[in-house]
Symmetry: C2
Subunit: 162 residues, 2 copies
């Protein structure tokens, strides 16, 4: 399993679609005013970490795509990139803290599934996803803390949809 | 290449994440008030068509995932599901008609790439994506028409982000 640069670029384009949510649905005033845990990382950390993670996520997939036994690795890869794209508009766009928590728990499970399935095809490619799983764990803890520290905001009634 | 139901379910879960945007970012009053082309389908058509398409998209991927030569099919599958998840929050959530147009053009290219790459692995699985490409063509035409019929809305100044 060598390195196919064209293939890497297509996977990276999928990551770019997920990353685009970060520039279009910004935290803004609403998020700034919420109570955060003491260990909340400074804002500049997030785009830096995600840029590195997206490179690793694309590199991991491009090493195992098409390899024998890679079916579940690819299915979980598709699931994690869809959930990754979904979280930001729901959390920062709709300001729905509890729906964001549900999505990030599902994302954690998808990344864990992707890591295990990828590791079985090529251990190195699976290990490339370890930082991603760690970071989603941190992000999920942060989503959880924001929920618990801002119960009124998390439970505020939603306007009727549509 | 038989049918692996578990694999189908993981791909379908990715489609469900994309579909979730449709229930969380509804067209609403803003979209109702925009001018539409005469051929605009009635509202009930969209969830019906998308439900069928998502089943086909998941079925197509589950037939070729892990097969020899499926690397690009899987990469484009990941790209299309991320772009599919992105369009609804940008168009209906942010009400950004031109950004939506850019995303749906990229989505069309990703679906076309996925169809061709999948067809090369298994022609039947590629053909399962033909209705998807046709529908994205229609949706892109609708996005374009809404832009041209509502130039003031498409060009309205954006509030500063963040």
């Amino acid at each position: 399993m060598g390195f196919d640069f064209g293939l890497f670029c297509v996977f990276l384009a999928a990551c770019a679609a997920a990353a685009a949510t970060g520039s279009m649905f910004m935290p803004g005033r609403w998020y700034d005013d919420l109570a955060k845990p003491t260990w909340n990382p400074p804002n500049w950390v997030f785009p830096v970490v995600w840029s590195i993670l997206y490179l690793l996520i694309a590199a991991s997939a491009s090493r195992v795509a098409g390899a024998p036994g890679s079916a579940y690795a690819m299915a979980f890869w598709g699931l994690q990139i869809a959930l990754n794209t979904l979280w930001t508009p729901v959390f920062f766009g709709l300001q729905r803290i509890k729906a964001g928590m549900l999505i990030i728990v599902l994302l954690w499970l998808a990344v864990a599934g992707c890591l295990v399935a990828t590791f079985r095809v090529e251990p190195f490619a699976g290990l490339l996803l370890v930082p991603y799983l760690i970071w989603v764990s941190i992000a999920a803890s942060l989503n959880w803390s924001v929920w618990r520290l801002n119960p009124e905001e998390a439970n505020k009634p939603r306007p009727a949809e549509g």
